[in-house]
Structure formats: structure tokens, C-alpha cells
Amino acid sequence: MNTLILITHLVLAQTPVTARVVQVIGKVELISGQAVAPLDRFGEVPMGTIIATGDDGRCSLRLPSGTLIRLGSNTRVEVASLTRGDPAAARKETIKVSVGRLWAKVTKLFGNDSRFEVQTDNAVAGVRGTAFFVETNGKQDQFVVDHGAISVNGAGGSLSLDGPGAAGGFHDGTLSPTNPLSAGALAAMRADVGGGVTNLLADTDPTGTTSREPFRDTLVGPDDPVDDLQPAARPTDSFGGDASITVRLIVPNL
């Protein structure tokens, strides 16, 4: 009896499921074998199918785990593996990118067997709760962290990328880090895969401000914009030094 229950649980824990289309802009096609059809918003995408976006095409996919995938224009991906367990965060999901640009916001993995991977022809990016970009032309790959961290493995070695803008890729047969991207460049990449509103959604913190900036604003004098500034000592001051309280101490005999 116990064995039967265990087997039932294992079967349930690896149920094949479908991804859900949540946004379609411009021309986007669903390719299953030889059949090609326009991709419909809120339609389902089974495992093994291919999605291809046109020159003006973009789309977003929701995986059953909650992970969101956004595809830029002229992008072709295959939903290579898609199984979910119970809870939804326990799953195995693999997206294979042939060409183009992809952004993924990944729900954290639950359990040791869970896996979320984005594959290119050259490398595999594995993550545990993060958002990142993948861009490939089939020969060269670029991986960029939006937030969180990813590890990239390929024939040329492995690479860990940590923090917003951290970047690396597969170039000339090896994996190597590249110059980190600025906040502006990240915003441009978000806009490229989902339109400008992706920046609006990224910039609005749902839980509000918890940073130390309010303290910093309190600590500065009413006339200093930030307390990183050196003291704004005037030549009428006798005092130099690093007192961020403005001091006007007058020397009358000059």
C-alpha cells in the first residue's frame, strides 16, 4: 500500500503540462512539426513546440511554475522540457534558444530535483530564482543578469554571473565574462523583449522603499543634497576637515 502511494506521488510529481501565452505583439508563430499557426494570446503551448517571432513580433509565456519568459523580435525557441510537480515550484523546465533574445524571470526552484535551464547550441544557463537575458545568433551567445545570479556551462568551461548587469558569453569557442552592462543598457534590453512597460513594472517596487536612503536624507544638513559630499567649507571658515555640518567660523583679522 505504501509503495502504491509512493508511485502515485512520483507520477503526479512529473506531470507534463503546457505553457500559457500571456502576451502577443506583432507576428508570432507556433510551429508544431510541419504545422505553423499564429500564436494566440492566452493559448497553450505544449512541450516540444517551437515559437518564432517576426521582425515586429514579441511575446510572453507563463510557465506552470510561475516563471515568465519574454521573447524579443526575430527569436526562435523550443519549449524543450516542461514538467511540473506539486508544489508548482518543483519542476523541470528547459527552453532552447536557436536564435534571438530571451528574458526570463525565474521562480525559485523547490527541491533538489528541480531544474530550470535555458539552452543555446553552445551553453546552458542554470538558475535558482533570478531574471536574466540570453541572446544568441547560433554561434555566439550572450548572457546578462537582470537581477540575482546565474551559472553558465558549456564546452568552453563554466561561468558564474552575479548581480544586475553582470554579463558573459560564448565567444570564439570559450565561455568568458564581458564588461557589465549599465542600468540604462539593461532598461533598453528589457524594452526590447517586452516593450517599455517592462521597465515601468521593474521600477515599481511592490513592497515600497526599505533602503537606507531615508536615513541618509535625514543625516545630511538641510543644505546638502547627500551626505557623501565632502564638507562644503567656505573660505570664510577657519575650519577645514571632514565635518559635514556646515561651519562658518569667522576670522576677523584677515
Partner: protein, 427 residues
């Protein structure tokens, strides 16, 4: 013809594409800080494509930002009907439900989220706060909150004495110093509607600098301070009013000699208008000097008015500031180089570079005229700095250059300051 083209174009364009154009416009307005226009554009996107998931989420977030959780909850509930696996929307729905007082519904929403993702830390924390009766966001429960900061650093100053005649010009006035700053205190109240500030703040602050060249290199002028900062803020309609009081005892040579007491009250009003926050400040700085301290001069007071515009041009923050000041000796007698009028302006920009690294730059010009001797001078100041933040501490470095040009040659000088250090935070 143009009108016809537009009509045909809109008829032939899919609703999702039309909505996307509106959402792009909303992003531009949002980046410029114009939330009203951003909301209007998102509403326009929903009017042509009511089931657009991006528009629904954007509308919900803008509604919550505007203090309208009811509308936010409505948009999020619809979004979850269309996209039931959107756990971000589910979490935000819980926050919105809690904000409108539907704490049971918020608990159920969080339970559903935790069932899907048992390790989602923000949902677990929000559920725990909800169960204990706290603010579900965990950002501000309104009570007393302690805060503290310890700063350690080094500064190289090419001219600690500025242009005082008390040190001959042949003496090297440059020195490296080791700097220590400790700040501790409390804040009280909720930061809602106060641009991130809490209503009451009380801080104690101690600073000290010692020279690696010995006390002589400080020339008896580099200050050590101990002081209190009290600040209260309140919102009256569209305006935020603040009262700030600072009391500082100033010493030299590492607290070995007391030279001055500084009392500085100020009051300011600010108002947000689109991407701008305008602030008008009036303040007084009264300096009560020890009678037997010859370097300090007479007691004197500064009256200051300032107008500031803080702009958020995401991701850059830009501040433009214009101010005027009058300094007077307290005994109403005209004092050489004590009584003066000053007009100053500065531009300051802060920009996130990458990750936790940010940088700033400042340029300032100040001109002043002294009542006695018809002395006039202009001060130019520029500064560049960077900060890299970690969880509990941050690294910072700055370079500043100041040049004073005066009718009196002895008061014309350059000053270079390089500083770097680490700040540890408890908050």
C-alpha cells in the same frame, strides 16, 4: 489624408499593438516622474485592450503607488483570472487586499501562493506579519525604529587651514587624516506620504579627525564635533513641511579644546509636481564662540533662504539649488570679513552605474561681498564621488576641488581633498 491614414492605421492595427504603443508612452511618462500621465496612458491601453496583462499589472502598481489599493486589487484579480500562474500578481494582490483591510482575503491569497512556492521568502514573511497583526508590507509598522552608522575613513586635504593668516604661507598646510563618525538614534512613525521620510527623527552624532602627521598638522582648526539632530515632518495637503533643529558642540585637536557651539534651526516646505520636487527652505545658524578662543572671532549668525528642484529622470537624480545668505556679527557692529552677503548655486547629479555601484558629481559657484573693505570673492567647487553598497556596509570615495578667487591675494587659494572610507549601517 493624414487623418484618414491614422484612422485606417488604427483600424488595421491589432488591439495588443495599439495597447503596446500606449504602454511605451506610459513608460516614458513614468521615467520622467509624471505619474498622472503614466496612469492616463495605461488606462488608454486598457480601453483598447482590456485583457492586456502588462497593462493590468502596470495599472495595479500605479494605483497602489497613488494610494488606491481598491483599484489595484480589482486589476490584479482580473489579471489572475487571465494568467492564474502569475505569482508576482498573486503576491501584490495580497498586499492590496491587506491595504484595503481585507486581511482574511490577503491571508488566503498568501496561503495559495505559498502552496505553489513553499520557499518564496517574501510571501512567507508577509504571511507571518499578517498573522501577528503587523503591516503586511513590513516596510513600516509605524513604531520606534533604532538606527546607527559607524564610518571609518581617510582624507587627504591639501589646505586644511584655507587662507588663514595665522599660518605663514610657507608652512605646508596639507595633511592626511583618519576620520571616525558615529551616528545613532531613532525614528518614529510611518513614512507614508512623506516621500520616504518618517515623521520624527532624533539622532546623536560624533565626528573626529586625527592627523597622521601629529596634532600640529591640524593647525588647531580641524573640528571634532558632538551634536544632536531633531527633525519632524508632516504633510498638509499637497505640501510636506519639515522642522529641523541641530545642536553641535565643536572642538579642535581631538576634543581637547572647545571652541564653538552651533545652533541651527531650519524649516522647509516641499511639493511634488510631476517629475519635480520643489523645496523652499529658510534657516538660521547661530554660532556662540568661546571668549578665549582667538581663532573663532565674534559670535555671529547666518540667515539663509534656498530654493531647490529635485528631478527624477530615471535612473538619474538631478538637483538644482539656488540660495542666498546674510552673515552678521551678533553685537551689531560691522566686523571685517564677518558681515557679508552671499549668493550661491549648485547642480548635483546622482546616477546608478551598475549593480550596487553609484556615482555623483557636483558643481557649485558662490559669490560674496563683505561689508567692510569692499572685498569681493567667488568660490568654485566641484566634486566627484562613488559608492558601492553591500548589505550592512558600503565603500565610498570622493575627490573635491575648491578654488577661491578674492580681491585680497592672501585669500586666493586652491584646495584639493581626497577621501575614502567604509560605513557600517544598522537600520
Amino acid at each position: 489624408m493624414t487623418f484618414l491614414t491614422l484612422v485606417l492605421s488604427s483600424l488595421l492595427t491589432a488591439p495588443a499593438d495599439q495597447a503596446q504603443a500606449r504602454l511605451d508612452a506610459a513608460q516614458v511618462a513614468f521615467a520622467q516622474g509624471d505619474l498622472d500621465l503614466a496612469r492616463a496612458e495605461v488606462d488608454a491601453a486598457l480601453s483598447v485592450d482590456a485583457d492586456n496583462p502588462d497593462a493590468l499589472l502596470a495599472a495595479a502598481r500605479l494605483a497602489r503607488k497613488a494610494g488606491d489599493p481598491d483599484t489595484a486589487a480589482r486589476h490584479l484579480a482580473r489579471l489572475l483570472e487571465l494568467d492564474p500562474d502569475d505569482d508576482d500578481a498573486r503576491f501584490e494582490l495580497a498586499l492590496a487586499q491587506a491595504e484595503v483591510g481585507q486581511r482574511d482575503a490577503a491571508g488566503s491569497t498568501l496561503d495559495a501562493l505559498v502552496a505553489r512556492d513553499p520557499q518564496r521568502a517574501e510571501a512567507l514573511a508577509a504571511r507571518a506579519r499578517l498573522s501577528s497583526g503587523d503591516d503586511v508590507r513590513g516596510t513600516d509598522t509605524g513604531g520606534v525604529k533604532p538606527l546607527a552608522r559607524l564610518g571609518l575613513g581617510m582624507t587627504y586635504d591639501s589646505n586644511v587651514q584655507l587662507a588663514s593668516s595665522q599660518v605663514p604661507s610657507t608652512v605646508d598646510r596639507s595633511t592626511p587624516t583618519i576620520d571616525v563618525e558615529a551616528v545613532g538614534g531613532i525614528t518614529y512613525g510611518r513614512a507614508d506620504q512623506l516621500q520616504g521620510a518618517r515623521p520624527f527623527t532624533l539622532l546623536a552624532r560624533v565626528t573626529n579627525q586625527t592627523s597622521t602627521d601629529g596634532d600640529e598638522a591640524l593647525h588647531g582648526v580641524v573640528p571634532s564635533t558632538i551634536g544632536l539632530i531633531a527633525q519632524g515632518q508632516h504633510r498638509f495637503g499637497a505640501f510636506q513641511l519639515a522642522l529641523d533643529m541641530r545642536y553641535t558642540e565643536i572642538f579642535v585637536d581631538s576634543f581637547s579644546q572647545h571652541v564653538q557651539r552651533l545652533i541651527a534651526p531650519s524649516v522647509w516646505a516641499s511639493r511634488a509636481m510631476g517629475r519635480h520636487v520643489f523645496r523652499f527652505l529658510g534657516g538660521i545658524e547661530y554660532r556662540d564662540t568661546e571668549d578665549d578662543v582667538t581663532i573663532a572671532g565674534p559670535d555671529n549668525v547666518t540667515y539663509e533662504l534656498a530654493l531647490r528642484d529635485t528631478m527624477r529622470l530615471a535612473p538619474v537624480r538631478l538637483i538644482l539649488d539656488l540660495r542666498g545668505a546674510i552673515n552678521k556679527a551678533s553685537d551689531n557692529t560691522v566686523q571685517a570679513l564677518v558681515d557679508f552677503k552671499e549668493v550661491a548655486g549648485f547642480a548635483y547629479a546622482w546616477v546608478p552605474v551598475v549593480g550596487s555601484l553609484s556615482a555623483f558629481g557636483l558643481g557649485e559657484v558662490a559669490g560674496r561681498a563683505f561689508e567692510a573693505g569692499d572685498v569681493k570673492e567667488v568660490t568654485y567647487r566641484t566634486e566627484l564621488g562613488a559608492r558601492y553598497g553591500f548589505d550592512v556596509f558600503e565603500l565610498h570615495a570622493e575627490y573635491g576641488f575648491m578654488r577661491n578667487v578674492s580681491d585680497r591675494d592672501a585669500r586666493t587659494f586652491n584646495r584639493h581633498v581626497v577621501s575614502a572610507g567604509v560605513r557600517f549601517w544598522y537600520q
